[in-house]
């Protein structure tokens, strides 16, 4: 270094932040990932994600395959103890050996014993994340055995001494340039290694030598069939095939949850895994092996010829306990495809060294880390914002946000309540069970309560929130980042303003509607509610406005499930009689609507009521489209884009949860239909994600996520000229305004402005 006196803060290493059992480590990991890893992670995960959308669209029976896969996993986990026994007999009948290891230590000890027994000096491994979970390599190495990772990503990690940052692409955080620098440094070579080909050849030549002389090959397995003892192995590089075929001893390591009943039950997973994982029709190699293989192992001169031997190590390590847990049992259906990682905006931005633990990462990672280790290891699951973009991408339909909300709930319980959180908790009616959460979480979970008082004294509250000092206090006590602007409280709430309007419903209205006064529309964006009211009434609907009520979204997002259940029950009870009386429920805020359509399934005891509400709740524009269709009116005769106050060119960003429940497309279609030129964003989430981006801890990450959205809008405008910004979600609006410094309109506001009737 030229200036040896220059003292710089040492950058955290991935290993140093692998264990995120406290908040400080989590925040350090985020900083490290944003500073070093973000560009490579973004490029790689977004490529996977794009390919995944394309590959799944090519499967004509994609949805059926998901149902079938889900059923098979449910059945298999239900019968798991029997399947373990059947699999043991099947493998043993073929001359193989089986060890069911209760703990990681047991698994490592068994593998070490096999290696010792066979006098193994060199072990070559195909990719196995389960072997990372049980920390196998150090155990073998301590005994003087050379362990070589042969999957190129795992090889990079071994050279760099880092933990995986992704489930199927463990070195997803490495750019080509960083790999070149790493290899040149670690292998002390001046070879240029300046292309993917050169790096691959370098590693491949080195590893081929190891393969040929290895005593033991260790692989994982994607699935196991109990009836035949068959392993299904999916890979692209060929290293798993080599590790299974060349050495005389093959050890396969797999979590017990990978077992299905029969080989036929593996069939639906073939295309589903390839499409969901790497976004391919099939990966280069999908093998079905029932070892030990018949042909003799590879014998080079000087290498003693030994008969083939096969060992299957089934790892429990907490899985049987997860199976007994009514919430976390679902984790065991996971087939490790990584669709939830690649479709997650936060993950795309920081990868698994921040959004991940020692082994597992991403949306599903927290449940795995908690289940196979300690609950505290899952603290990184706070990076799941509940945006739900992964939900429809999961090939076995795991409700991943629900798992993470439950992790947050259990972590909240372990926290020591502060005086402030106890006070705020009691005042806001937070369920006693939830009051140990931080003051910040209690604030966000009960925003309705604070907004109610805030808007009662709107002038004063807005004045306080507008001062540096006020914002500083909000940040210090409630964790609201002072760089963020909370929507100012209106002088008149939606409920108050609507009460002043004359509701003139005809004798035979086109429809009977109750407009749900969600917290954010009522206390923040009143104009949206009034615009909805205006349009629906113009279309002849009889519309009343509900009482303002939290429906549980805010509490759920803070992992306060008891409070969320209280809110959900109350909102459902309020709406039920109206729905029974024939009213449809129209909701402006998509995150509220998604509660009725999705999360109420978990939160309401009365499943019937959930079904009823799911069928009778509608997003505002979705409902307008429905009414137009019902009345046979031509949209262009009702709305006239020519009279738009913001021009005819729009950049539309739909809300993440709105997309998940499938009601973003009506808005897009209607805007086009009435004459707008619409560009739609294609980011998974804006990065604000409810309260997430308001929090001081996550402001930088949130803005880094938002950068994709901002640049999409900017690029489109550069290419084709200015566009008005349109967004359906409250927090998306705030995020777009923060990023592009321009006003954002809700689609209903725009539609109300161009209403011709």
């Amino acid at each position: 270094m030229a200036d040896s006196n220059l003292k710089t803060a040492p950058m955290d290493t991935p290993r140093a932040v692998a264990n995120k059992s406290d908040r400080e480590h989590l925040l350090r990991a985020i900083r490290m990932a944003l500073a070093v890893q973000s560009p490579a992670v973004r490029l790689n995960t977004q490529t996977f994600n794009t390919n995944r959308y394309r590959a799944t669209a090519l499967l004509p029976d994609y949805e059926n395959l998901k149902d079938e896969a889900r059923r098979i996993k449910e059945k298999s986990i239900a019968n798991l103890p029997e399947l373990v026994q059947t699999l043991k007999s099947s493998v043993r009948a073929r001359g193989g050996h089986v060890c069911v290891a209760n703990t990681a230590e047991d698994a490592c000890r068994y593998i070490l014993d096999v290696c010792r027994w066979r006098g193994a000096k060199l072990v070559v491994k195909g990719k196995s994340i389960t072997s990372e979970e049980i920390h196998l390599n150090p155990v073998l190495e301590a005994d003087g055995i050379e362990v070589v990772e042969s999957d190129l990503a795992e090889f990079i990690l071994q050279v760099a001494d880092e933990q995986p940052s992704h489930i199927i692409a463990p070195a997803v955080h490495y750019s080509r340039e960083r790999i070149t620098a790493l290899f040149q440094r670690k292998f002390r070579t001046k070879a240029p290694l300046d292309s993917g080909e050169a790096l691959t050849k370098f590693a491949r030549d080195l590893l081929r030598e190891k393969f040929l002389y290895a005593d033991v090959g260790i692989t994982g397995a994607n699935l196991l069939a109990a009836d035949t003892g068959t392993l299904m192995q999916v890979e692209s590089e060929g290293n798993i095939r080599l590790a299974s075929f060349l050495p005389p001893v093959h050890i396969a390591i797999a979590g017990v949850e990978k077992i299905v009943g029969t080989r036929h039950e593996m069939a639906p997973f073939l295309e589903l895994l390839a499409a969901s994982g790497t976004g391919q029709g099939l990966a280069a190699y999908t093998s079905f092996l029932s070892p030990p293989l018949d042909d003799p192992p590879f014998a080079l001169p000087l290498k003693a010829l030994k008969p083939r031997e096969f060992h299957l190590v089934l790892v429990d390590n907490g899985r049987m306990t997860m199976r007994e847990d009514s919430v976390f049992r679902e984790t065991l259906y996971c087939i490790r495809c990584s669709a939830c990682l690649n479709s997650c905006a936060n993950f795309q931005t920081v990868g698994g060294h921040a959004f991940g633990g020692e082994t597992y990462s991403g949306g599903i990672g927290g449940a795995w880390e908690a289940g196979t280790g300690k609950l505290e290891n899952a603290r990184f699951s706070e990076l799941c914002t509940g945006c739900s973009r992964c939900v429809n991408q999961c090939p076995v339909r795991i409700d991943i946000p629900w798992l993470n909300e439950n992790l947050a709930d259990r972590l909240n319980k372990k926290a020591e309540p502060s005086q402030l959180s106890s006070l705020l908790g009691a005042a806001s009616g937070t369920a006693p069970y939830d009051r140990s959460g931080s003051a910040s979480k209690i604030f966000f979970a009960n925003y309705h309560y604070f907004a109610k008082w805030g808007s009662r004294f709107a002038g004063a509250s807005n004045a306080v929130m507008g001062t540096t000092q006020g914002r500083h206090l909000m940040e210090r006590w409630l964790g609201v980042d002072q760089r963020r602007t909370l929507a100012p409280f209106p002088k008149e709430t939606l409920v108050q303003a609507a009460a002043k309007l004359e509701a003139k419903a005809g004798k035979s209205p086109a429809a009977k509607v109750i407009l749900f006064a969600d917290v954010f529309t009522n206390y923040g964006f009143v104009a949206r509610g009034l615009a909805t009211l205006k349009i629906l009434r113009a279309l002849g609907a009889d519309v009343i406005v509900s009482e303002v009520l939290p429906e549980g979204r805010a509490a759920l997002s803070q992992g306060m499930i008891a409070t969320a259940k209280n809110h959900a029950r109350r909102a459902a009870a309020e709406l039920e009689p109206y729905v029974q009386g024939g009213r449809d429920v129209v909701v402006v805020e998509p995150s509220s609507l998604a509660m009725f359509r999705r999360e109420f399934e978990h939160l309401l005891d009365k499943k019937m009521l959930f079904q009823i509400l799911r069928a009778s709740t509608f997003e505002a524009v979705e409902y307008i489209v429905k009414l137009l269709a019902k009345s046979g009116r031509e949209p262009r005769k009702v709305f006239d884009a020519a009279s738009s106050p913001v021009g005819q060119n729009l950049f539309f960003h739909a809300h993440c949860q709105q997309k998940t429940i499938g009601c973003a497309s009506p808005t897009e279609a209607l805007l086009r239909e009435v004459g707008f030129d619409v560009t739609t964003s294609n980011v998974e989430c804006c990065g604000m994600a409810g309260s997430f981006g308001y929090k001081k801890d996550f402001y930088e990450l949130s803005m880094a996520v938002g950068a994709d959205l901002f640049s999409q809008a900017a690029k489109r405008e550069k290419d084709v000229g200015p566009r008005a910004l349109i967004a359906s979600g409250t927090s998306c609006t705030e995020q777009l305004q923060a990023g592009l410094k321009r006003p954002v309109m809700h689609p209903v506001e725009l539609l109300a402005a161009i209403l011709k009737i």
Partner: protein, 175 residues
Amino acid sequence: MPDLVTTFEQNAIAAAAVVWRCERSPLAVRQAVERAAGDARGIVLSDAEFLPPPLFAGLRGLAGVIPRPEDEQLATADVGVSEAFAGVASTGSVCIAMGRPLAAATSLLMPLHIALLAVERIVERPRDLFDPECLKGEGLRRNLVFITGPSATADMGPLVLGVHGPHRLQILLLE
């Protein structure tokens, strides 16, 4: 609707394999393998199970074929030739039964893998092989691999073809 063979061909090419259509005669197969192998020397043949023996017999006389390879020769050979017992149209995959002598080696160890596939053994989708009726009950072998294009990796940055497995996959479609 394109037929299964055309679909297979398109998808195999999309997966970075090279596909040749070839007449089902010993001479044509021999010429096709010669052309596919190019300058490569050190050719290893695995046994045929379904294709008529004369087709393979004709290959034994090709220059560079190693008659009964030692494992050491397998490690340095350039070309592996094997029979695919099935092909999959929707993915362009060839299916190789493992366990027969040299089947694993020829499809895995050499930089160039040449797979011979009879067009009537092409099924529509991967899972069709799991149907007991498929290919007269010969669809689901005890040890088998679906091979889709050459081995590949995206771990070193951009997509690279040719990693631990073959760098090139050439498929001879026997019409």
